[in-house]
Amino acid sequence: MSRESDIRLGTGEAPVAPPQTPKKINWAWLGVIPFFLFAIFFLFLPSATIFIRSFEAPDGSFTFENIISLFTKADIVNAYQASLSISVITALAGAIFGFLLAYAVVLGGLPAGIRTFLTTFSGVASNFAGVPLAFAFIATMGNAGLVTRWMETVLGFDIHATGFTIYNIWGLSIVYMYFQFPLMVLIMAPALDGLRREWREACENLGGSTAHYWRYVAFPILMPTLLGTMILLFGNAFGAYATAYAFAGSFINLVTILIGAQIQGDVLFNPGLGNALALGMIVIMLISMIGYAYMQRRAARWTR
């Protein structure tokens, strides 16, 4: 502090510099207070409320009943199963395809312009979610969608007559993939850039084949990034609400959809259970974020 007041010497304010010193420290704290107040009132307290009320019986007494119901009540277990499977499916598929596309663009010998284009487009696509995305896929593969009609007219095959529907977990997965795999491309492309030419040359000088290089050098280095991004994709799909709601409405019983219904009207007929449902989501997201943070730290080792 005193160093900075010394710097002020030579200005008109110099004589008052010493008494200003304590005031400046206050200033520093004041600058961050609104931020933390906001976080407390609109992030931590609402989360804490959910946590506390998860252990409340309808009459206000303490109970574990709600938490136990999460694992026993059929429609809640089903909702968690649906949410978890769609998250795992889209995380895996998004990671695999995103990686392949990133590889093709970065190392696959495609013209450099394609990479710029694809990165920009991935930035847009990874943010193109919610209601418009649902509409886009209804127009693509819904009952009157472009692909559906094309199959009817060109192939003479009415796919919906066979009982096929896109309004299930697999259909929704295809929709989610639209924002999932561009995210993978965005994160993997720089990671693939980080693979140094020297590593490959070192591997080849030691007599290693391409397979050796990937198996023993590149893949282990990329692993934390890959896993971390997969966790990110998992959480991304797990917390999604708008897309699923606009796409399939009540056809798919996801946890987020169930919580939404609980907000609009107590569909579980037990407010405490609604809280427990929300708490379950927070716990799963917390675990995945911790996993993500850990993987990021591992990945950072090689990016220096």
Binding site: F41, P46, F97, L107, F135, Y241, A246, I282
Partner: protein, 285 residues
């Protein structure tokens, strides 16, 4: 061990002799695969967009027309919801900037010890999904009339959504310039704090701030979860409602919405070339 030395040179010689051929082959083979994967990716990217556009032109049976757009744009509720969303987006941007800028600046300059805490807060939106946060909002503030009669909770939710983007963008911007040196240089020239902040730091952060602003704008304009569950007539819920009662107009709005997202994020990519933090973790799903 005795056998090793004779083998090693052979392998090296073999590698040297074969390497150019091998590399050439590999590149060519992968080129084809790269193109195939790129093709699949592009089809998956563009088919839904094409289908949406085509669908929006089919409002009149038997021919393509802009009828769906006419229907969509002649509804006064469209302009009302669009205008409201825009207003809320601007409010969100202003408040988020007021919250994030001083915090990020002080964390860089004076309180680096607070960095983990601040980063933890900006990561919270991923731990607490939007639906869960609304649930908590309503459980906590639902009984206070002033909290539900004006869109405080809605804007608060939007701010939470945009915090990570804004913080990452500004943080990266601050990292790129040497805040301490700039601040001390300004101080030694006798600049006051407002001068330092508004005439030295801000102009250097313009690109970073703008990238955060555009992303926030795109997220808020299409946001559905908060607006729907807190019952505010924003653009997202309006689109969803229209989807329930109209056949082709919703796709017209989806096209508009996509152009909006494309516009703001494409612009971001132009101005903020390499501005980090964009699209890293997603917002309104």
């Amino acid at each position: 061990m005795r056998d090793r030395p004779p083998i090693a040179p052979t392998a090296t010689v073999k590698a040297i002799v074969e390497t150019p051929v091998k590399t050439w082959k590999r590149v060519r083979k992968f080129n084809l695969w790269s193109w195939i994967i790129l093709g699949i990716g592009l089809i998956y990217f563009f088919l839904p967009l094409l289908a949406t556009f085509e669908f929006s032109l089919r409002a009149i049976k038997g021919r393509y027309s802009l009828e769906a757009y006419r229907i969509a744009f002649s509804d006064p509720a469209f302009f009302r919801s669009f205008g409201l969303s825009m207003l809320w987006a601007i409010l969100t941007i202003i408040i988020t900037l007021l919250l994030v800028l001083p915090t990020a600046y002080w964390v860089h300059l004076r309180l680096p010890r607070l960095r983990p805490a601040v980063e933890f807060v900006t990561l919270m939106p991923f731990v607490v999904p939007a639906v869960v946060l609304v649930f908590g909002f309503i459980r906590m503030y639902g009984r206070y009339t002033f909290m539900v009669s004006i869109p405080i909770l809605l804007i608060a939710g939007y701010i939470v959504l945009s915090l990570p983007y804004m913080f990452r963008a500004v943080d990266a911007g601050l990292r790129a310039i040497d805040v301490r040196t700039l601040t001390e240089a300004a101080q030694s020239l006798g600049a006051s704090w407002p001068t330092i902040i508004f005439r030295v730091i801000f102009p250097n952060l313009r690109v970073a701030i703008l990238s955060g602003v555009f992303l926030t704008f795109a997220i808020v304009m299409g946001e559905f979860t908060f607006a729907n569950l807190l019952v505010w007539p924003a653009f997202g819920p309006y689109m969803e409602l229209l989807g329930a009662k109209e056949a082709y107009a919703p796709q017209a709005l989806a096209v508009v919405s996509f152009l909006l997202t494309w516009g703001s994020i494409g612009l971001l990519a132009r101005i903020g070339r390499g501005a980090p933090g964009q699209g890293q973790i997603a917002g309104a799903r």
